[in-house]
Symmetry: C2
Subunit: 409 residues, 2 copies
């Protein structure tokens, strides 16, 4: 009389599996663990008092907007504020082109639902953000992985792919301080990419949650802004970002900016997903930003995370055995280690966890799942002292590592 | 060089269209309009101060849980609290079977993604909740509409359907004070339905956002509780509910309770959608409920909404022309009008709006879109005085109405 639920799962959902991120986030809660695994901002830097005050103010100032059902596209004043901020980056779009999403993750799901038919080709960086791969799994795209180097996506490889007649539904790119590698798409490549996309009418989904977290040099110009500059308006790029890394993830408030022709359809998609993003969180984010919180808080994050990045780079330099290489990100939250050929990061993780240090093996970030000797380290979550201690533990594990061996430390 | 976005929309999303609810909610903002259209709770009854205090307390008491990324399944203490509350209703399930969702709407999308393959049969009440139809449109089910009467779903019609060998993926039922009709599934039918579902291994999705809003008689026993009673555990029912109608919709916090075998897969689905529901909103809902807010506030809603329902029934009785019939809900937020045969509610709406009163024509609530002479009235949003005035306007429009005619008032 019981139901066999397993045989009733829809085909798209069957292909989903528990993600490495999800399982590994569970590791971060053990008290003695130094975790470089999660993509977590530093909780001690949250502007908690200001967010609390903004919530209170939201309920006093606009109880109807903060507590009632709201428009699917988002809280009007917040959309206006974001449109103004985007314009400062060169991304000229009306408030009507801005939609509030329940974090950037929801925007990824919306893009999947809107643009991916089963079997449709989708071009992605390799490696790329695991959460995007996971969001799109149920829509069953055919992923076309593109190589990257220290200047980001290899645009000439994309050009070659397009020359062969491939017609991806879109290209997905994390343009600055990419998750997982920390690498940023170089300025010259950005322009070449937008020109290429325009030539081939290739939509670009630009995911930019880390762009403001700059520790060296200038904030990069979004692809979406270059599109506006080259074509007088936003035509080829859907731009995604979020308050999760700049204020707090707990609000679940992100946004997208899209060409006008897409907005209605995106609204229909979002309405089916959750009617709208939490009203109170939206009004609170608006009030906090209106009162200048971002302008005050982003420099604090840049300073603190910059020191954490430096601590991680210094510790790696001081302790890692020869043959281990890593990226040197100018911002963001992650760096990327490449282990010697033949090493297995998942195997290394088992030993690292026994020594109370955690990271994410790189394999699940590759669309083809075909690379086993890379790993992602997060440097935003832990203090410089913990970073030094954790990298030392990791280096010890790496020095004792023999691929396939049963080395005990 | 521009992209033709229209030709790039995935097949599932192509079938979506702007919903009547969405377009009509826009009408409710005109100041002179008396709107019975939206499914909105009364904003003047929101426990605004308590929610504000709960947010503040959440940030002081548990800043990490309230502001950081959280578990996909939801805030642990809130899941525990809901499991306890559900047990009081006879729905015995562990906290591990409770998942927090971004409103009930997200739970509907999750169910669609999890259980609907293109072309798969899905049994629904006719009429049924428009938001469910809209959430499932992209998954392209074959809807099997089932008749209802004043005792809710016609369970014998479902039995006949199942006897013919039909194997719906699930039955969707809004068990109490249904949206849109206000009708409640009668106790004897509830038991018969759960027995029938068990016999045919038919999953039931029970949507119960209004069950606590009782103005006459007792709170109905959820189908999920009957399943637990008959089978010793939750086996055939996934139960959905939300704080949107009991506290405030602006938090976007709902929940589902599912058989253990479904929880992992639902977690994977939800992770792809938005990682997790807003942490701050979850912790605030938890603290508010822990401090007894629901127990204090639900009686306030019952009292106030009960008076609004009475006001609407009295005004309909006093003013409506002969031949117009309506349901007499014992709770919830809606009642359902049936106009004389041959009348067109959409046509009537055009005239009603000219007279500053709005409602939702019934047609879009029917899976087959084949009934044009019904309409939904909401009675929770407007004061008894506005309800009396609005119904009088509507009756005036109805008295002057001639189907297809160009009657001017």
């Amino acid at each position: 009389m019981s139901i066999n639920w397993g045989e009733r799962i829809a085909q798209g959902a069957r292909e989903m599996s528990s993600s490495a991120i999800r399982d590994l986030l569970k590791l971060t809660v053990q008290p003695e663990m130094i975790s470089f695994a999660g993509g977590l901002p530093a909780p001690e830097l949250f502007p908690a008092e200001e967010i609390g005050a903004a919530c209170e103010q939201a309920i006093i100032e606009s109880p109807a907007a903060a507590l009632q059902y709201g428009p699917t596209e988002g809280h009007g004043p917040l959309r206006e504020l974001i449109a103004g901020w985007m314009a400062d980056l060169g991304l000229r779009a009306s408030a009507g082109q801005v939609m509030i999403t329940s974090g950037s993750q929801q925007a990824l799901d919306m893009i999947g639902k809107l643009l991916i038919d089963p079997g449709a080709p989708v071009a992605v960086e390799s490696p790329t953000y695991l959460g995007a791969l996971q969001a799109w799994q149920p829509y069953r795209p055919q992923l076309l992985p593109l190589p990257m180097d220290e200047d980001g996506l290899d645009v000439s490889a994309l050009a070659e792919l397009l020359e062969t007649g491939a017609r991806p539904r879109f290209l997905y790119v994390v343009s600055s301080f990419q998750n997982p590698t920390g690498v940023t798409l170089a300025p010259a490549r950005r322009r070449a990419l937008v020109e290429l996309a325009a030539r081939h009418r290739l939509p670009i989904i630009e995911d930019d949650p880390y762009g403001e977290l700059v520790y060296e040099g200038e904030r990069a110009t979004p692809l979406a802004a270059i599109d506006c500059e080259l074509h007088g308006e936003l035509r080829h790029v859907v731009y995604l970002s979020t308050f999760s890394k700049l204020l707090t993830p707990g609000l679940r408030v992100g946004w997208l900016v899209a060409p006008p022709a897409l907005i209605d359809k995106l609204g229909q998609v979002k309405q089916g997903l959750d009617l709208h993003t939490g009203s109170l969180a939206q009004v609170a984010a608006y009030l906090a930003c209106r009162d200048g919180l971002l302008a005050r808080h982003v420099p604090v994050l840049r300073e603190a995370y910059g020191r954490r990045r430096d601590a991680m780079l210094a510790a790696l330099e001081a302790t890692m055995p020869a043959g281990v290489r890593w990226t040197r990100p100018a911002g963001g939250m992650f760096l990327w280690l490449t282990l010697p050929e033949g090493w297995d990061a998942a195997e290394l993780l088992g030993r690292a966890i026994a020594h109370q240090v955690a990271f994410v093996p790189g394999r699940s970030f590759y669309p083809a799942g075909d690379v086993t000797n890379t790993l992602r380290l997060n440097f935003s979550y832990s203090s410089p002292e913990l970073i030094a201690a954790g990298v030392a533990r990791l280096a010890e594990v790496a020095r004792a590592y023999t691929p396939g061996g049963l080395t005990q430390l």
